[in-house]
Symmetry: D2
């Protein structure tokens, strides 16, 4: 039996020590501690790890951390939404995103050509430059392949990025497939449409893409989910593991509530009714902003996996 323990700060406290203290605090800090332990367990038991995240997380500085997580092979398959692809590429080209305020005057921002995502602002001109670069990149890819599944397209893009802090680049060079089940849902959709006007035989094969993701694993393999936020990227990795017999481990980090019956808010508890997760220790939901909760849980796991020589940095 575990008991709460008075937390006492000591000067120079490391992130690893803080998260280990969460074991005695309670509420979401305790769930976060369990989530961090679960990440270690996924890795130690050689589970195939499916990492999903929503595009807004790549809008933030987490983008570099995702690249690092990929580089250290803390995930085997990635699933996300189109905005994440776009903004990863934009940042690779040097576009800068401004830190603003949740309580902005949005009419004023519009006049200035700044688009708000929470407290982060993206300039119109960043999108304009992105569109022009994408046409070049698509032309280049078209030279080699005319019909691609989504993950093939994203690998080709990744290989052309060459930015250490890009998750697409790191995924590409580390052979980690990136899936994006609604690839046209963004500026990129418009780019694909424009490109196709002059290249009628250019095609994106989504049925092949679905077949690619379901064959990333098997019934026999241990499978793990780290779902950051909700939406189709979360659902797609749950679906993939379900088709293959269910996930053995699942860590959900979200701000969405379970009360509206949405998939985004669905708990790992609910996931048990669908799949095969049996043990509470192997299914953890942490409520809170992912920009805070994910680095905390992942950093403690990374530090300890490095100490135990399970990963090398």
């Amino acid at each position: 039996m575990k008991y709460t323990k008075d937390f006492i700060w000591k000067k120079g406290l490391s992130v690893k020590e803080l998260v280990n203290n969460y074991e005695g605090i309670g509420f979401q800090s305790y769930e976060l501690f369990k989530g961090s332990e679960l990440i270690k367990k996924m890795k130690k038991n050689s589970a195939k790890i499916y990492l999903s995240f929503t595009s807004n997380m790549v809008t933030t500085g987490l983008r570099g951390f995702f690249a690092q997580v990929v580089k250290y092979k803390m995930c085997d398959v990635i699933c996300t939404t189109t905005g994440a692809i776009e903004e990863d590429i934009m940042k690779s080209f040097g576009e800068k995103f401004i830190l603003g305020s949740f309580a902005s005057d949005d009419n004023e921002l519009y006049e200035r050509g700044e688009n708000r995502v929470g407290n982060v602002l993206i300039k119109n001109e960043s999108y304009e430059r992105f569109e022009s670069k994408m046409q070049d990149m698509l032309s280049d890819i078209y030279e080699t392949k005319k019909k691609l599944s989504v993950n093939q397209l994203l690998k080709e893009i990744g290989l052309r990025i060459k930015d250490e802090n890009s998750f697409l680049y790191q995924a590409a060079i580390n052979n980690i497939p990136v899936f994006c089940p609604a690839i046209t849902d963004g500026s990129l959709g418009f780019d694909l449409y424009l490109f196709k006007q002059d290249h009628k035989d250019f095609e994106i094969d989504i049925i092949k893409d679905f077949s690619d993701i379901i064959f990333t694993t098997t019934h026999d393999e241990k499978k793990a989910i780290i779902a950051l936020g909700g939406g189709v990227s979360k659902h797609h990795v749950i679906l993939t593991t379900l088709i293959n017999g269910g996930a053995d481990y699942a860590l959900y980090m979200t701000t969405a509530s379970a009360t509206s019956g949405s998939l985004s808010g669905a708990t790992t508890q609910e996931a048990k009714s669908w799949g095969k997760i049996k043990d509470d220790a192997d299914a953890v939901t942490v409520y809170g902003d992912v920009t805070i909760t994910f680095p905390l849980a992942m950093i403690k796991a990374l530090e300890e996996l490095v100490e135990e020589k399970i990963i090398t940095i």
Copy 2:
């Protein structure tokens, strides 16, 4: 200037009267009143109305109401996620969904073969029967067309349903296109994959689908969004209106919070920084479970639009 007004119930109070009372109550009831007025304004000003909803809403009894909303042409374009397609079809075939509890014993549900979505349960066998029916339906569609965009596929399916309470059927016979930007993200994805094994020349064209949605409107036309819940279905209609100069009216109904920077939680306020909405009266966000908020707002609008002979029932 408007003031709060003591709400007093009278026996036999109608939904229309209740929602009109919200004008003097405050907090979310006041926002809901404004949302209902906004729906009327969209219709009176002949705006092209984009309705998006997440799949879990179709899991509930709202499915019949969506069909009714389509039938009375309260929307011109629909955007949703795959689960909504699947469950609309399943219900057309007579599958029954059980009302359960948010606090179920999920391991027990798993043993019973019941999958939980909040407090609604779907049996495994419903999915099994669905898969078999889908193969028949896809074969039938394949006879006429081998390559379809997503909305074309959904129209073909809708035409084959013949259930008054199906939104796909009502959309099909009323020429309202249904978009689903991540069509493979569900059991349907697996069905498409299976079907393709024996029909190699069967293809889903998502670039065409994107072109179809952006040409549903023009810069000149007035455009309105009713986004129920978040995710790609919400984003896709925002994107479509944005490409065409921005929406004139936007009503968001959600339980997602703006604090995490997610698109699901993004307010109509934030939308102003991206688009052209200028006036507060034309952009309303209502927080609360859509199973409660949407019928309230839509019913008052329907009642008054019928009275004003703008729609006929």
Copy 3:
């Protein structure tokens, strides 16, 4: 076993019919239906009903509805916070509260002397007139009693209000005690302090007040809780019923989440670990803004209790 049922609107739909349709919809609408049924059960089984609400609800037009709920004896004991007392009194004196916006320019409001509570605004001058009236009222009460428990003070105030739409007035004339465990936490606290400067023997006895609330019921009596929102008013009625053996029925309506371990977000499920609620049907939590959820649930209950001649209007 219950199943979801397609909801179909009919012209002139009443609130009662809508809420009865919720039985077949799902998610929070289904919980609301169960909550409404539970209110009827509380009344039919002659339970002592404890109604708690937070002050912000009285800021809105719900204030008149609370008065009506009291008048029809749908509760036996009330517990709230100080702002509710103040604003009920202010409205009795004719103060008007403005309907504004959640996205106001708050610095501008400050310049105008308007204080924001969500999307409702209260003028500084309303508070000023309130303070002056309170000194008169306290003087008048002091003539008859110099030491009062909080509920005695609130009864004396209630008797002096004479406004049909005041819950304090209705409670006073219907012998329904009103408790307010943190009575000094508001403008009223300052009024009591000012009054005491010139009336040193004026005293508020909170230990007597606590004894008064715990003797409002007994172990043998059936007890019910309707807790709207959280905080001390919710906790105080739970505590009172717990000391007397636990509540038999509990309906919580809230927007607070259970994930942070707060009492405000604590579910009726959690309440079972503390008390004696055994049956799921007797403990319902409805998530959503109380300005929407409470009237819906209470109106259906009122309509049906009137039909069944259990209450008379």
Copy 4:
């Protein structure tokens, strides 16, 4: 202008470094960074700091950290609810609180005599031993004083605790007053009632208590609020600073949403309409579980204030 910056983990990363990285991440991590800077500003500008927290936070291991925060004089006045008082005392007597699960079987817990607060469990016997100890302590205090304001009572209790990790003890020996505006709202209320049965002249003076808190500061003094969670403890410190001309700095940390108009969810933005906060940099709201957000923000502030020799440890 600030821009997002890719966050890159380095082995051995300290909490201070992590929180400083939040400056370039975005969403709530960026707000947390600003909150941490604001704590430093409060201290450097010698503001009188009002710290409020809800009782559930003391149920967790944060209790020891609160004691430490008091010891290092990072606050000047404390305001909380009764459960916090009770559980601080219980832990001083050696009672242990169990770490459980949010998804417990609550009927089973009830049978075992374990009361759930989120994922923390308190045994019935802990409450029983607490009641017996409280009678002894009240007898001892009664020997010296028969009439006390709440903060005087809590100081007398604090002096009798002698546990380094008790916030009541640290507050008492460091002359930091502790306010609790609804002191009877808990097991302690029952203890006071029992004690009074045999000590009729024992009295708690809440009007004096209110006068004590409003005289903790002046119009001229700089005033700061750190409000963890909502409810009366948050409202009471806002009220106190408002009566004295408004707070200069305010940091709110909460999971409550602004959408329901509750005080618990009220933002620092809303606070501007009531008071005198002018500058955005001086009013920060951080959304998330306080067991995670508060230590992060406070630790970075403590580390840097120690480095700058503004506080000594």
